[in-house]
């Protein structure tokens, strides 16, 4: 009986170790970011990543002309304020949006007239003494819809 209990403990340890090892951030945006209403469609350009407090990272997306986009971000509380900047992906690198100017709002909408590449830059903003080597998940959810009213007739009235 004594040996039996030990085996159970070892097996439980192994299961726990394997389960923890398998954790990843890949679907963090799906489970944690705030979603827009159902008139928006999920964009496969949505992304999650592993982050350390205080770090910055970016990725490039394509936004089509004549469409409306919704961006939502969420990260572990240890990552502090999550700053999102939308930057023109060319030599000028014009900053088109910065949520630091809007109290670090964690979602926003925008309309886009011509198709272009944009850089989505994400920064974890923490105090210097909060910078650690610990790793947490962060997610950026992107949704879109045609911004013409004709495409949303079902949304009019009751």
């Amino acid at each position: 009986m004594k040996y039996y209990s030990r085996y159970i403990l070892i097996i439980l340890f192994l299961i726990q170790a394997l389960y923890s090892f398998g954790q990843n951030c890949t679907e963090y945006h799906i489970d944690h970011c705030r979603w827009a209403d159902r008139s928006f469609l999920y964009s496969r350009q949505s992304k999650s990543a592993a982050f350390k407090p205080g770090m910055k990272s970016e990725f490039s997306i394509v936004v089509y002309g004549g469409e409306e986009y919704y961006l939502s971000v969420d990260g572990h509380k240890k990552l502090g304020n999550i700053r999102i900047r939308l930057i023109e992906d060319n030599t000028e690198q014009t900053i088109l949006y910065d949520n630091a100017q809007f109290k670090y709002e964690n979602f926003f909408y925008f309309k886009n007239s011509l198709t272009k590449n944009l850089i989505v830059e994400i920064t974890s903003e923490v105090e210097d003494d909060e910078i650690t080597d610990d790793i947490y998940c962060i997610g950026v959810l992107i949704e879109f819809r045609s911004n013409t009213l004709e495409n949303r007739k079902d949304k009019l009235g009751f």
């Binding site: 726990q16 090892f21 964009s43 592993a50 990272s57 394509v62 198709t115 790793i135 045609s146």
Partner: protein
């Protein structure tokens, strides 16, 4: 075994569960890929599933969705790659590229709300995925549900749309981004093939022609993404297809307007300006010819490029 010992064991187990619950969203290793870029090689061993792409690209659905509002465009079943061609795909390159082709075909069918034969196309996608060892856990059940509900158009479309998102999330989660990029190459070429062949008469101002020109940005991002896997023979072949397409895109005229942001009456951010790409008729004909040739070589499994 004493009660004290049993209680100790129970406490230990509960403690482990507690630790796991608190840490469930915290990757444990410090030497894993951080951020959204692909610049860390040290990550490949420990947490491959955290590796993420710097260049993102939209799905075939995002490419097609605008045609829903164009009443002049009609569904043309002859543009689909027949499911009978599946037997021609015996190597991994043709399986990957044509999996992308069939995904675009099924997306095209669902955008036009065509449910006829969707089960055959879904079954072909399922078979090719299975042969490539891309096994979405519930896809066999889903295939049966689609067959059972084939008369219910909305259900079939809904099943497929959910499956499509899960399919791509599965590949990302399992660090198969290089496979995803090759599949997407097939998907994009099929998407362009359908779009260019939906046009009967060329008009430089038409929305569909503009949309085809706009795909340059998605092809650029896909190309940059694939470049990271160019040592893979299938990715190298896909790159050759994309290089030819991008060469023609780079010849288009460009009208540049300064990018500026404003707020509309609802205080919503509006991004105006940028670069508008323009086809003339000759360029469009050349482009259409290239896309038709590339698509033919993919669906008939004629590798026109030398293996690297």
């Amino acid at each position: 075994m004493s009660l004290k010992y049993r209680l100790s064991c129970l406490t230990l187990v509960l403690l482990m569960i507690g630790i796991y619950a608190c840490k469930s969203n915290e990757p444990k290793e410090n030497n894993e890929s951080l951020g959204f870029s692909n610049d860390s090689d040290s990550t490949l061993i420990v947490h491959q599933n955290l590796k993420s792409s710097h260049y993102n690209y939209p799905s075939a659905k995002e490419m097609f969705v605008f045609i829903q509002k164009d009443n002049k465009l009609t569904f043309k079943s002859k543009l689909l790659n027949p499911t009978s061609n599946q037997s021609k795909y015996v190597d991994s390159r043709s399986k990957l590229l044509n999996l992308g082709v069939y995904i675009s075909d099924l997306t095209y069918m669902t955008v036009f709300k065509q449910s006829k034969n969707t089960d055959l196309y879904f079954e072909t996608i399922y078979t090719l995925s299975d042969q490539l060892r891309i096994s979405i856990p519930y896809s066999e059940n889903l295939l049966n549900r689609i067959k059972d509900n084939i008369a219910n158009r909305d259900s079939v479309i809904n099943y497929y749309e959910n499956y499509s998102d899960d399919f791509f999330n599965y590949l990302n989660k399992n660090n198969k981004e290089h496979i995803l990029s090759v599949i997407t190459t097939g998907s994009y070429i099929e998407g362009l093939y359908i779009l260019v062949n939906l046009i009967d008469d060329f008009s430089g101002n038409s929305e569909i022609i503009q949309k085809i020109a706009d795909q340059k940005y998605t092809f650029e991002n896909l190309y940059r993404n694939l470049e990271e896997y160019k040592s893979d023979p299938n990715a190298a072949t896909a790159l050759q297809y994309l290089e030819q397409i991008l060469a023609l895109y780079n010849e288009l005229d460009v009208i540049k307007e300064p990018v500026q942001t404003t707020r509309d009456k609802n205080n919503q951010l509006v991004i105006d300006g940028g670069e508008k790409l323009l086809f003339n008729q000759e360029q469009f004909n050349q482009f259409k010819s290239l896309i038709n040739d590339q698509r033919k070589s993919i669906v008939l499994n004629q590798n026109v490029y030398n293996e690297q």
